[in-house]
Symmetry: C2
DNA sequence: CTAATCGTTCTGTAAATACCGAACGATAAG
DNA sequence: CTTATCGTTCGGTATTTACAGAACGATTAG
């Protein structure tokens, strides 16, 4: 394995570890990592299996998982009878959007907590009011934020 | 168990499931959940064990984990020879800050990927340029964002 | 000193997870 | 029709994880 290939491996593995931290299986990260630097961008399941030295079953499953996450998408078949995938345009934005939504869920939970402390001393409520504030802020700020990111993306393409 | 207690349980469990989605053990979420609605805010390990019907070992471990996450902190002992904990002021902000930092790590990884495609066609680089843009944006926007959140918090207290 | 009680840590166990290989159904080639 | 080659799915295995219980050292009360 030459130097270039090693660097690519290293990149793929970094993406894999990043994905792992984000709660995805490491193998999903590897598939994604490959599709981020592959040439051409569209690769068949077999290509991926071979390159990653991983089993068909894993790659097939992880590919569909990543499609579900909005990070990759099916691509036109270059060879007949083969499933191709490529990184999905705007995939990272979608990824961030979903993460933020998960975070923002705490907003509603905090409200329910506040109801439980209804009538109690204000000092007791501070903890949940912070949660309320932070995640309401996340929720609101984030939308304009996504909008600006999308604009920025649109200018490029 | 009366209705109030059931609602509290439900709240605690919601926090637990939220924490689980964020990659923390469910039990850590339960400890946190309890410290978000406890009266008084400071509770001893024993109090927590009893309330959650969980083992000393779990609660002890999870408490230290949450301290490490910046979500709770040791509190003055109300009873002698007991460790007290309470939700940490600004804990949620700190929590968000760390999550965002983890996300922003992709910024650097994307750059390394771009180096691998150096000299290649621009169309090949788009994927990683998106990653670069999104997470550079996350990184930069987020700081002003935190600042404004903190200001907002300061106004309250 | 002895006994009790605290928090930590080690060990064990049940459950979840990641991954692979094999079996399978579908489709296309010979 | 037969065979080869897809992708999916099922079953098994090894690893990891969450949690509890027991053992331990430290501290305080009697």
């Amino acid at each position: 394995m030459n130097g270039k290939e090693l660097e690519e491996r290293s990149f793929i593995e970094d993406i894999a570890m990043f994905c792992e931290k984000m709660g995805l299986p490491r193998m999903a990260g590897r598939v994604l990592g490959m599709l981020l630097i592959s040439e051409p961008p569209s690769q068949s399941l077999n290509d991926i299996c071979e390159r990653l030295q991983a089993s068909k079953s894993s790659v097939s499953t992880m590919a569909r998982l990543l499609v579900g996450e909005g990070l990759i998408e099916p691509a036109p078949c270059l060879m007949p009878r083969r499933d191709y995938f490529k990184f999905r345009n705007g995939g990272w934005l979608e990824f961030m959007r979903r993460r933020m939504e998960t975070m923002a869920a705490l907003h509603a939970i905090a409200d329910r907590g506040l109801e439980l402390l209804d009538g109690k001393d204000e000092s007791l409520k501070e903890r949940l009011e912070e949660a309320h504030a932070v995640f309401e802020f996340v929720d609101s700020e984030f939308h304009g934020w996504l909008y600006r990111m999308e604009q920025r993306g649109r200018r490029k393409s």
